[in-house]
Subunit: 363 residues, 2 copies
């Protein structure tokens, strides 16, 4: 790598990003699904423009601040996939007056407040919990869902758009069969809802999220919209889940080696929890915060053996390996580390550096 | 609280910060220790000025970027308590030319490079590992330490300053006895080193870090300098370790409630891993990311029962409780959450809001 890097830096390989986007876009077309990618992973106007170049015009975000950022930069159809925060009514009103804004609700109280406060109309998704157990109305509770649909429909400034599901429990899955099982359970619950609420859901958009599901499942029936986000970069966690191969991961941290401990078989890097985050996966019973790769002229390559970042404190990281690993590196060299959770690493790093040295900013 | 807060916000109570600083300053004076607080927790010129008002003129940081920030704002005696990153030689040279810069080394290679590259002189601490097992030369290895001292002393632009220890393994301790035991072990190792290296360490500064040790131990013998940092705010982790009481914790997140689940006894807040970090402690076998408190006109108060933030995803947090907890809150209310690790929460939040509404920026 010819780049002059002296501090922890988040590298982005566009030649990996584009096939990730194209594959997901193809899947959306094959299944006649609206493609509304989640932009919370990259949070970058420039990366968003790569989607736009391929014809994508709708997106998902997870805060009103993100919605504002993308709205100010030409995105005019945005879903905020987060329970509406009524304390930010000013932002909601401003967005409602300028773009096609889709909000998420799960209670009559919030519907009433939106209806009362908003001068412009917004579209409303009801947040459905199909098993993740974080938030939303349980998919089994068709009575509450019917009630909320009717409640929304009585207001002229609220347009009932449909149901929104995020199966975040796929993140705990390992392998295609587990993900398929979660998907089938969700599909079963949604079909049951449709039977119970024939009239209410006649024109409803059923929107499904999450990268594991849309990476692993090929045929979708009964859904209208897909909102995966992380797939744009993928990461070590998605690899462990079974969503991607290591080669599809499009981001990599470059970190300086600052100490070398031959007697402990460790390298100490400048790169810690304020760069990687403290998210971790478990491999062979050990905490893992990243995977060592070799930086090259054109990006990065995988070692035959797997060496992991096994500990991070605020600025320090510890790479555990063996003499073979240590012999390849000196103090002052850069190592590449594939992060465990690219959403959080990118959030901390605040910008990307492409392989050819261009800086890409983000919100 | 009269403040208009609509998004996750990090509150800072100066009336708690000042006693935390004063107590540590008093301890340094009683023990005739140089007080060189670590500024990586707050990373704020304004908070640094509160130390300066009390007569503190030396500080510790954990990156050259932080050193630059404080040097540009009037701090002229700074230790970078991180193994010297030789890739940032330009920054080191600039700092060396303008302030009293103390660097950390643990190998002859880095010493040689510094001696060769630097036009101005710097002071050098040798990083000693007294049991934390992250980085540094093992305290038992007096041969390597002697060799490195002699190696440093041969160069005219490097001044051997002393030994620097950070007993980070106190973070795994629970209660005063465990911390005292770690301290005594370290003291024993340092005394042994002094016996072995009488001449080399004759004028050496022995510098010790870490908040648990300096919160719990009252009498220090054999050390010359103290570098705790987190104590300025403390947090739930330090409370669990036994370093502080809950009332001494000086920062608190304010987060909007966005959903309420009576049937699951949970509140969903706007406040997730991009605000709190994913650092956690375990209480009663459960992951804990924060403790619920009640926001008041003058700060925050503790509930009789303990309710915890038990899950965080990117922007969502889940507070687990009971009907008593739920009955006190409505959607759109703000809750207070004491964070588990204030260093990482402050790093993510990027600024503080004082109880009377003033915004304090940071690096």
């Amino acid at each position: 790598m010819q780049l002059k890097i002296t501090e922890p830096t988040l590298l982005l390989d566009k030649t990996k990003v584009m096939p990730n986007i194209e594959k997901m876009l193809t899947k959306s077309r094959q299944n006649q699904l609206v493609f509304r990618p989640h932009f919370k992973t990259h949070q970058s106007i420039e990366i968003a423009s790569w989607y736009k170049d391929l014809g994508v015009s709708k997106c998902t975000v997870s805060s009103l601040k993100m919605a504002q950022y993308f709205a100010e930069n030409g995105w005019i159809d945005i879903t905020v996939a987060f329970p509406t925060n009524i304390l930010e009514m000013d932002k909601i009103q401003r967005l409602a007056s300028s773009i096609n804004l889709n909000l998420l609700v799960e209670s009559v109280d919030v519907v009433d407040i939106l209806a009362k406060e908003l001068k412009d109309s917004v579209s409303i998704f009801i947040k459905i919990d199909a098993g993740y157990n974080r938030t939303g109305i349980k998919a089994e509770n068709s009575i509450a869902i019917r009630q909320l649909v009717h409640h929304i429909k009585q207001y002229s400034n609220l347009e009932f758009e449909g149901l929104l599901i995020h199966d975040g429990h796929t993140y705990a899955a390992r392998g295609k069969e587990e993900i398929r099982s979660i998907y089938n359970t969700t599909l079963g619950k949604i079909n049951k809802l449709r039977e119970n609420l024939v009239e209410e859901l006649a024109d409803a958009t059923i929107s499904l999220g999450d990268t594991p599901t849309f990476s692993v499942i090929d045929i979708f029936e009964g859904f209208h919209e897909m909102r995966p986000g992380n797939f744009v970069f993928y990461d070590l966690m998605q690899w462990q889940i079974g969503s991607c191969s290591l080669k599809e991961i499009a981001v990599c941290m470059a970190c300086p080696i600052v100490a070398k401990h031959n007697e402990r078989d460790t390298l100490i890097i400048y790169g810690g929890s304020v760069h990687f985050s403290k998210d971790r996966i478990i491999i062979d019973g050990k905490n893992v915060f990243g995977l060592l790769v070799k930086l090259t002229e054109t990006g990065w390559q995988f070692f035959e053996k797997s060496y992991y970042l096994t500990s991070v404190s605020q600025e320090h990281g510890i790479l555990e390996g063996d003499s073979e690993m240590l012999n390849q590196f000196s103090i002052g060299d850069l190592v590449g580390i594939i992060p465990v959770h690219s959403c959080l690493t990118a959030d901390l790093m605040k910008s990307y550096q492409t392989i050819d040295g261009k800086i890409i900013s983000r919100l």
